[in-house]
């Protein structure tokens, strides 16, 4: 077993050097790949399923040449076709196969297209499907970490059903698939005349810069359409923002029932813009009582670098450990964040801890039970 791993590792390392950039494309008869706006073209001429090879035409610099490709990579040595390193073909069916291409890292992904055969011969053009595809987003000016939802709308404006509709969508640079979203999106396979289909997918911006979401390509029968492309500007820094921190100070955290506790709350703006509509809320834990003041406070505005504070007086009424929790929300954080005071422990004056055994005993029992159960499970699965 060990040996095999080593062999596999070595194999992986070697193949890593030679084919780090191998990409696979499913190709049918009469389709081609266009690299860098015509800089390099690969066109499928024939698929020989029975003999496991395909004939392709490579074109670059205005010169074309035919190659037979198989499942072993054939490296290409003649200029200008050697602008790609390697090409191979596998997974044959009658009319398609998988083409692996090792092309330079600095090329962008190719565009797949259909080789136009002598068209215009069909005269019954009275009934045709015509697909119109558009692509849109709500916001084109976003920040790193933001998620955008892309909407692709396909409409059949023709007078015939479009069937076998497929869609090609490329992942734009600077984005990754947002979790939970489906990529690539899938289009309805059949569109009746007049029918339209809307599909959505979401991307998350991971890099600052200006990025283009390439046109969506739609193919149906012999028809091909492209949507508009979309340019998105992703900025690195979040804009000017306020940032509040709330602190709670307590003059005594170890008290007896009946004692008073002084509590001061301080709200500091550490951000570089003023915070507005600042709301502090909270409730007094049971065991304590509000003697004076109000936990809830509202400030219209706290300037950047400034702070506000208020104080309340609490009274300990019942034994136990308590914390006061406050929630602060404001214009730049409408959800709000929580702040807890340190724990205030209140000792009951007359009663002693033995009185709590009726709680402590069953809880300890429960914990012991859970631990024993887990240990038993562990033993069952240990080998």
């Amino acid at each position: 077993m060990r040996k095999i791993w080593i062999i596999l590792l070595v194999l992986l390392m070697f193949s890593g050097v030679a084919s780090a950039k191998v990409e696979y494309f499913y190709m049918e008869n009469n389709t081609g790949l266009n690299f860098m706006n015509g800089y390099y073209l690969i066109e499928v001429i024939d698929i020989k399923k029975a003999d496991f090879f395909a004939i392709v035409n490579l074109t670059s610099d205005g010169q074309s040449n035919r190659y037979h490709i198989r499942s072993e990579s054939s490296s290409i040595s003649t200029y200008p076709w050697n602008r790609i390193n390697d090409i191979n073909a596998s997974f044959f069916t009658d009319n398609s196969f998988r083409m692996g291409i090792d092309y330079p890292d600095n090329w962008s992904a190719p565009v797949k297209y259909t080789i136009s055969s002598a068209t215009g011969t069909k005269s019954d053009s009275s009934k045709v499907p015509i697909i119109v595809v558009t692509k849109s987003v709500e916001e084109t000016d976003i920040n790193v970490g933001d998620i955008i939802e892309i909407k692709i709308k396909t409409t059949n404006t023709g007078n015939e059903t479009a069937s076998g509709v497929t869609l090609t969508e490329y992942m734009p640079e600077g984005f990754i698939r947002a979790t939970g979203s489906r990529f690539p999106p899938v289009v309805k396979e059949k569109l009746e005349p007049g029918e339209s289909d809307e599909i959505y997918y979401a991307l998350e911006a991971v890099k600052a810069g200006t990025f283009t979401i390439e046109p969506t390509k739609i193919e149906y029968g012999t028809g091909r359409k492209e949507s508009n492309s979309i340019t998105i500007t992703v900025s690195r820094e979040v804009k000017e923002k306020s940032q509040l921190v709330t602190e709670i100070f307590i003059d005594d955290n170890d008290v007896m029932t009946g004692d008073l506790i002084n509590m001061v709350v301080k709200i500091i703006n550490n951000g570089n813009a003023s915070a507005e509509s600042v709301l502090i809320e909270g409730s007094v834990p049971k065991g304590l009582e509000l003697e004076e003041g109000d936990l809830r406070q509202l400030y219209k505005k706290i300037e950047s670098g400034e702070y506000e504070s208020y104080s309340v007086i609490l009274k300990a009424v019942d034994g136990g450990n308590y914390t006061v929790r406050l929630k602060t929300s404001y214009n730049d954080d409408t959800v709000g964040f929580a702040t807890s005071s340190e724990t205030i422990s209140v000792t009951k004056k007359e009663k002693n801890p033995v009185d709590y055994w009726y709680i402590i005993l069953p809880i300890t029992g429960l914990i012991v039970g859970v631990v024993l159960f887990t240990m038993n499970r562990h033993k069952e699965y240990r080998y």
Binding site: I4, L11, K49, T93, V186, Y200, T374, R377, Y381, Y383
Partner: protein, 365 residues
């Protein structure tokens, strides 16, 4: 409720079995500490291996379900050694199986290419068929093609044994075909194991459920026994935009299968299980799609499991007839044997020429 026995043999089989146990717990890493396995049936699992370290690696298979066949360090990918080892330990294994009671159906999971799994599985199935009268199926994993000539050889002989044997059929999954499930080998293994586990659990659930249209163990048996006695599984899941029609299509498409197959041309029988909420399951659509498939391949058994609020899922079991990919595998397997042969001859020649050169000579000091 059915009684089902799952055996995982060899490292690959053990790990897929462990994956099944894990998925049955719900899939979480610590799920075994609080969860309960949600098998519909009474399922017994057993991991069998010659390598004790492989057994130690398992996490979700009970220790009493791990059976070590003592044989030093595994059988080192040699099927002849493996078969001997099996014969010597046959009684031990069958006794361990019998201790678990009687079953309605059993599955043996292994890789076709390693040593232990590949060589134990065919004779184990043989022995079980001889002694018990329940159906025994194989679930066999084919190797990455770059794993070398020994693995390729082992695979084709293991498949041959299974096709010729008296087992009731074998489901194949192909590491090579599924390698995109992970970035590196480890991740691919995990991904493949999980995929197999999830589909298998779906299959088990379906075999043991009341369905709207009936498929059951009998139909499964018919599908598995047809063609070359090899079958594979396809799976499709509806999400936002997928209708039940496209979900069915997905389950028999390249992206849904466990093995490179053109179902419309290369499958000989099929069984299709559709699960989901009634509101998503348009009977006409289902019938159209199923008819399309059955007009190409003959009979398609179908079963529908109604589940409130669940998006449709489709699982298809396809028996494999004449298959281009299998042919290719056998071809490269044969080539691999040729290569090994040449290597052996070269070594023999070299040994011969060394002893010729040294003929009559003595070391001098």
């Amino acid at each position: 409720m059915l009684n089902i026995l799952l055996l995982g043999v060899g490292q690959c089989g053990n790990r897929i079995l462990d994956s099944i146990n894990r998925e049955a717990f719900g899939g979480g890493v610590v799920s075994k500490y609080y969860g309960k396995q949600k098998f519909v049936s009474n399922v017994q699992t057993m991991a069998i291996n010659t390598a004790v370290n492989d057994l130690k690696e398992l996490r979700f298979t009970k220790s009493r379900d791990r059976i070590h066949v003592p044989y030093l360090h595994g059988v080192g990918a040699n099927r002849n050694v493996g078969k001997d080892c099996f014969e010597n330990n046959k009684e031990l294994l069958l006794r361990a199986i019998e201790e678990r009671g009687d079953f309605d159906v059993a599955f043996v999971i292994a890789s076709a290419s390693g040593g232990t799994g590949s060589s134990f599985t065919p004779p184990l199935i043989e022995a079980m068929k001889e002694r018990y009268n329940y159906n025994v199926y194989g679930i066999v994993v084919l190797p990455f093609r770059e794993e070398g000539s020994i693995y390729l050889q082992n695979s084709i002989f293991c498949l041959k044994d299974l096709m010729a044997g008296s087992g009731d059929g074998t489901i194949i999954a192909d590491n090579e075909f599924l390698k995109n499930l992970g970035k590196d080998i480890q991740a691919a293994y995990d991904g493949i194991n999980q995929t197999i586990a999830q589909r298998f659990l779906f299959l088990l659930k379906a075999l043991d459920s009341e369905m709207m249209m009936v498929t059951d163990l009998g139909d499964f048996k018919t599908v598995m026994a047809s063609g070359s006695k090899l079958a594979t599984i396809g799976y499709g899941e509806a999400s936002n935009n997928l209708t039940i029609k496209s979900t069915i299509k997905q389950s028999v498409s390249h992206g849904g299968l466990l093995f490179q197959l053109d179902p419309y041309k290369e499958a000989t029988r099929a069984m299709m299980i559709i699960e989901g909420d009634k509101k998503y399951l348009n009977v006409n659509d289902i019938t159209t799609e199923v008819d399309r498939l059955s007009s190409d391949i003959g009979h398609v058994f179908k079963g529908v499991l109604l589940r409130d609020g669940v998006m449709p899922r489709v699982l298809t079991v396809l028996s494999i007839g004449a298959s281009v990919e299998l042919d290719k595998l056998f071809d490269i397997g044969v080539q691999a044997i040729g290569k090994e042969q040449v290597k052996k001859e070269q070594i023999a020649m070299q040994n011969q020429s060394i002893s010729d050169k040294l003929e009559g000579l003595q070391p001098l000091y």
